[in-house]
Structure formats: structure tokens, C-alpha cells
Amino acid sequence: MNKACIVNGLTKSYGALKALDHITFEINQGEIFGLIGPNGSGKTTTLRILATLLRPDTGEAKIFDCDIIKQASEVRKLISYLPEEAGAYRNLTGLDYLRFVADLYSTNSEEQTNFLERAVNFANLGERIKDKVKTYSKGMTRKLLLARALMTNPKLAILDEPTVGLDVLNSLEIRKIIKQFVKEGGTVLLSSHNMLEVEFLSDRVTLLKEGKVVETGKVTELKEKYHARNLEEIFFGVAQ
């Protein structure tokens, strides 16, 4: 199976704090891969390194065979990143924001129109898409940002806590969009401390604890291995 992402021995420290300690995992093309762990376990740092925002101290990572350090600009063309606390430009309308991103990614007007239509469909904000972002609720902003992340049809979408702080209905809608994106051939790497959500969405998961990988595998296999009913119980077992 083709690999969308190969992570090998990544280490990252912030001063005395070791955020990542030789983490290794692989993501298959066309799957939803979940990165789970409690706050401060290194999820965001891992995603930021893969999104070319941070440089690892040691180790290497490749996305569709492109090295994240040596070929950072190539990697940026393949990925799309949704940070946990992302925002959009408050004085632009939702549509203007999407157009701004479409302009940056497209090479011609036809492609730009396609990106824009796709984003408007994903966001599903109706007429509110023409309102300024500063008037949006948290859920609306998150949907706009997810639409932005998926509009350019990236080969790998990196989503950090995609449903954080959202109510049940908005969370369901966002999960639906992610599933649809994968159905259309995309690959997703997502992180969450909400293990039930990851269990629902992901094909395979990696459990992180204090910057180390403690387990990787299919959710069903892990459940059997740890005789657990859900990921939370697995994580509890592993952490012990």
C-alpha cells in the first residue's frame, strides 16, 4: 500500500522540555489516521512538524516521498493544515477569505472557480458566507476553516482537534465532511484528545503519552488486544 506519510524517530525539545521522543508511525494513503493522547502529549508538535511549521531536532518525516525539511515547499503543495486554534481574517467575508486561499493555490481561473465551489459546498453556510467572518459563531468559523483546508483537494489533510469546542450538531457535520473528503480519495491525519471521536472517525490510531508512541494499530485490533470496549479504556490500559 502506498504511504501518505512516514515518520521516523522524530524528536523535538523546547528548552528543557522534551515534547517528542523518537516517535515513529506510518499513514496509508486513503485512510483516516488518528493521533490521540492527553494534553501536552506532543500531538500538536507532531502535526506542526509535518505541516513544515517546526523543525525536528532529530529524525525524519516524508509526505508522499517528499522530505519535510529538504522539500518543505513541495510538501506545502501536498498538504493542508487546520490548526487547533485557527482563525480567519475577521474583516473579510467568508467568501472573500475562501477566494483569497483559492487565488494562492490555483493556477488558472477555472481551477480557482472549482476550489471556490467546493469550499462553499463544504462550508454549507448559505447566505452567511457573504457576511464578515467576525460575525460568525465558533461553529461557523470552524466549518469555514475546514472547507478552506479541504477545498484545494490536498493529498494529505492535517487536522488538529477539528471539532474542539463545538456542539454536537456542528461536530457531526464536521465529521461528515471529513468522511466525505476521504471517500473522494483524500488522506487525513487528525489529532484529538476526544478518543471516542477518533474511534468513530479513524481507521488506525497512534497513542501518544509524554512525547512517546505507546501504541499504534487498527482500533478493532487494539480493542481485542487490550480487551477494551473503546479507545478510552485502551488508553487507560496502556497508560497503566
Partner: protein
């Protein structure tokens, strides 16, 4: 009452933040420094001035005139020779004023013919303090006239015309500017040049401060609104992001400054029209100065380079901010770097400053736009070319550093450190 006190206490705690206090303290130190500089310059300007006096009459009257000048705290450098020689001697000895007492001065004075004394002023500074020497000589000459007028009544003719008694000698002013000498009042000439250049420092000050604030806001808001992290993962280089921000902010800053300039121009037009009422001397002076095109080209280049310098510096500083408010605080040093040369160049003559202060001023890239028009007027080519070269190097080096920092983890780790 107790509740109000509790609320007031809370308000003071909220308002008196480091972000508020640091710029105020810095400004107080800055103004104290400027005040000290001004006092020093004033003291310098009040020490006895040297003037060259060429006495071609060598009479008792000419000696009396020289004595009165001496009594007025002027140091007399006696000389003789052609006017060209005297001018070059003045240039070498850094003396700005030459008085020529002509042959037959005494004879004309005694026969009530009001002899003419020529006063040559070399203009090589527009500082207000440089006017003090001229004013001192003029006031001494008034005393000379007073004394000689009294003597006319007492010794020569009680029936002399009142105009001759009031002004027994006439002073004709000449000015040497940009290697040309022509009859003109030096103070009037300086005022004309000052009025012509009045807008330049104001627009420079506004543009540079505006652009720093725009960039700081732009980067600070990107961080505060959590848009920067996403922007950095788009398929565009970090340098492109920086250049985009710098130019975007630059255009807005220039537009805002132009609007303000227009307002100031409407306000200042009546005053400038009054001052530039054209005597032939002033017309001569204006025609001698740099052409309008040269002036605008040099100023446009220096303004553009100053904008790039301000943009690169504020970008570099704003990178370390976590939000827009902190970014505004971080660019306070830029405001000081702009206001400092602004005040110094408006109030003092840069050439008369101490070597350390001169070095400090020349290190600040924002000094050059303020001194460009004066340098152009006095044909100081090394300052113009050197200034351009220095500003280009400064902007390139700072942009390169900013780009390097922007491409590194630092852009995010400042925030990370706080979060973790």
C-alpha cells in the same frame, strides 16, 4: 463609597500596565536627553562669536566701530584682501560673518554721506541656533549707529537730517550660498528655505511611524487571530509573506500620510505664501537651489528607502510579539529612532554636534531622509550617496534577518513557550 474605591483600585491596576509605562518612561528619558542637547547647543551659541573685519579705512571712526563690536562680546579677526580671499579665509576658519569697513568711511561719515558697510554671511546651516551670530552682529551694528548718531549731534552737525542721525552708517547684506554670493538678508533667506522644507520632515515622520504601526498590527493580529499558523503552511515562501506584508502596510501608510499632508498643506499655505513673498534676492536663491525635480527624486528615493527600513525593522521586532498590543509595544524603539533625528535635525545643526552624537545619528537610518533636502541644498553629495547606500544595506540586512527568523521555529515558539 467602599465599592467605588474597590472599583477605582481595580481600574488603576488594569490601566497601569508595563505596556503603558515602558513607552512613557522611554519618552521621558528621550525628552530629558533632547533637553540636555538643546541646553548644550544654546550655551555653545552664546559663547563669543568670531567675525572677520577687514578695515580698509584704518581711521579713528573705523577703530571706534571695531571697539564697539568687541564690547558686544564679538571676537574680531582682523584681515584684509579681496572679497574672494576673505570668503575663503572665513570658510577655512569656520567664521560665518565678514564685515568690510570701506576706504573713506570716516570721510563720508563726517560729511554725513552715510557710508556703506558690507556684511557677508556664509550660510551652511539652517539650524535656528545659527541665526544667533547674525542677530548678535546686527544688534552690535545698531549700537554702533546709536553711538555714531550721538556723535554727529555733539561734534559735527546739529542740523543733520534725522535719517542720517538714526543711521549714520548703512549695512548692506550679502549672502554666500552654494558657492555663489549675492545681496540678500541671511535670516530671510534661511526662513525661505525652512518654509519650503517644512512639509518634508512632517510627512517623513508620519509615514515612518505609520508603517511601523501597520506592520506591527498586521503581524500582531495574525498571531492574535490565529491566522499566521495557517498562512505559513500555504505554498508560498516566507520571504513572499514578509514582502507582501511590508508592501501592503507601506501602501496604506503612504496613503494615510498623503491625506494628512493634504490637511497640513491647507493649513500651512497662507503662512508659506506670506513668507515667500519674492524679493529678487529670494528669487535668485530659489533659482540656485536644486531643481524641483531633483529635490522630489532625491526625497522620493530617501522616503522609499526609509519605508523599507522601517518595514523591515518593525517586521523583525513584531515577530516576537504574541498579539497586536504587544507588537505595538515592541516597536516603541522605532518611534524613538524616528523622533530623535527629527527633533535634532529641526532644532540643531548636525555639523556642530559632538562626534559621538553625529555617529549615533548617522547609524540611525531614519536620519538621512531628514537631512537629504539640506544636503542637496548645500551640495553635500557624500551624505546623499552614502545615505542611500547605508539605507539599502540596512534594509537588506534587517529583511534577511527577519526572513531568517520568520522561517525558523521562533515565529511560533514564543507562543509555544507561553502556552506550555
Amino acid at each position: 463609597m467602599r465599592n467605588i474605591l474597590i472599583l477605582v483600585k481595580k481600574e488603576i491596576k488594569e490601566l497601569l500596565t508595563t505596556a503603558l509605562l515602558v513607552p512613557i518612561v522611554v519618552m521621558v528619558i528621550f525628552f530629558a536627553f533632547i533637553g540636555r542637547m538643546m541646553t548644550r547647543e544654546y550655551k555653545k551659541s552664546t559663547i563669543p562669536k568670531s567675525i572677520i573685519v577687514a578695515d580698509f579705512d584704518q581711521s579713528a571712526t573705523s577703530n571706534d566701530i571695531i571697539d564697539i563690536l568687541r564690547q558686544q562680546n564679538l571676537i574680531i579677526i582682523p584681515s584684509t584682501g579681496s572679497i574672494d580671499f576673505l570668503l575663503s579665509q572665513a570658510q577655512q576658519s569656520k567664521t560665518n560673518i565678514i564685515l568690510i569697513l570701506p576706504e573713506s568711511l570716516e570721510q563720508k561719515y563726517k560729511s554725513l554721506q552715510s557710508p556703506e558697510i558690507a556684511m557677508y554671511t556664509l550660510i551652511n546651516s539652517l539650524s535656528p541656533f545659527s541665526d544667533i551670530g547674525v542677530a548678535q552682529v546686527k544688534s552690535a551694528i545698531n549700537l554702533v549707529n546709536e553711538s555714531l548718531g550721538v556723535r554727529i549731534i555733539r561734534q559735527y552737525s546739529k542740523d543733520a537730517p534725522i535719517t542720517t542721525i538714526k543711521r549714520p552708517i548703512i549695512v548692506t547684506d550679502y549672502v554666500k550660498l552654494r558657492n555663489q554670493t549675492f545681496p540678500a538678508n541671511p535670516i530671510q533667506i534661511k526662513n525661505t528655505i525652512r518654509v519650503q522644507n517644512v512639509f518634508i520632515p512632517v510627512i517623513l515622520l508620519m509615514v515612518i511611524i505609520y508603517i511601523s504601526q501597520m506592520i506591527a498590527s498586521a503581524i500582531g493580529q495574525e498571531k492574535e487571530n490565529k491566522t499566521l499558523e495557517t498562512l505559513l503552511t500555504f505554498p508560498i515562501s516566507r520571504l513572499q509573506i514578509l514582502v507582501g506584508k511590508m508592501f501592503g502596510a507601506g501602501i496604506v501608510a503612504v496613503l494615510l500620510s498623503l491625506v494628512f499632508l493634504l490637511g497640513i498643506k491647507f493649513y500651512m499655505t497662507p503662512m508659506s505664501q506670506t513668507n515667500v513673498s519674492g524679493t529678487s534676492a529670494i528669487k535668485t536663491m530659489v533659482s540656485m537651489g536644486p531643481t524641483q525635480t531633483t529635490l522630489y527624486v532625491v526625497l522620493a528615493i530617501s522616503l522609499f528607502l526609509a519605508i523599507v527600513c522601517a518595514a523591515s525593522l518593525s517586521t523583525l521586532l513584531s515577530i516576537f510579539a504574541t498579539d497586536a498590543r504587544q507588537a505595538q509595544l515592541l516597536i516603541t524603539p522605532i518611534n524613538i529612532l524616528v523622533i530623535f533625528p527629527y527633533f535634532i535635525t529641526i532644532l540643531l545643526d548636525i555639523n556642530s554636534l559632538s562626534i559621538i552624537l553625529k555617529i549615533i545619528l548617522y547609524i540611525i537610518p531614519f536620519t538621512y531622509p531628514f537631512i537629504m533636502s539640506q544636503a542637496l541644498f548645500f551640495n553635500q553629495l557624500p551624505i546623499i550617496v552614502g545615505g542611500f547606500a547605508y539605507m539599502i544595506i540596512f534594509a537588506v540586512v534587517i529583511t534577511a534577518i527577519a526572513s531568517k527568523v520568520f522561517s525558523s521555529d521562533l515565529i511560533l515558539t514564543a507562543k509555544l513557550k507561553i502556552r506550555r
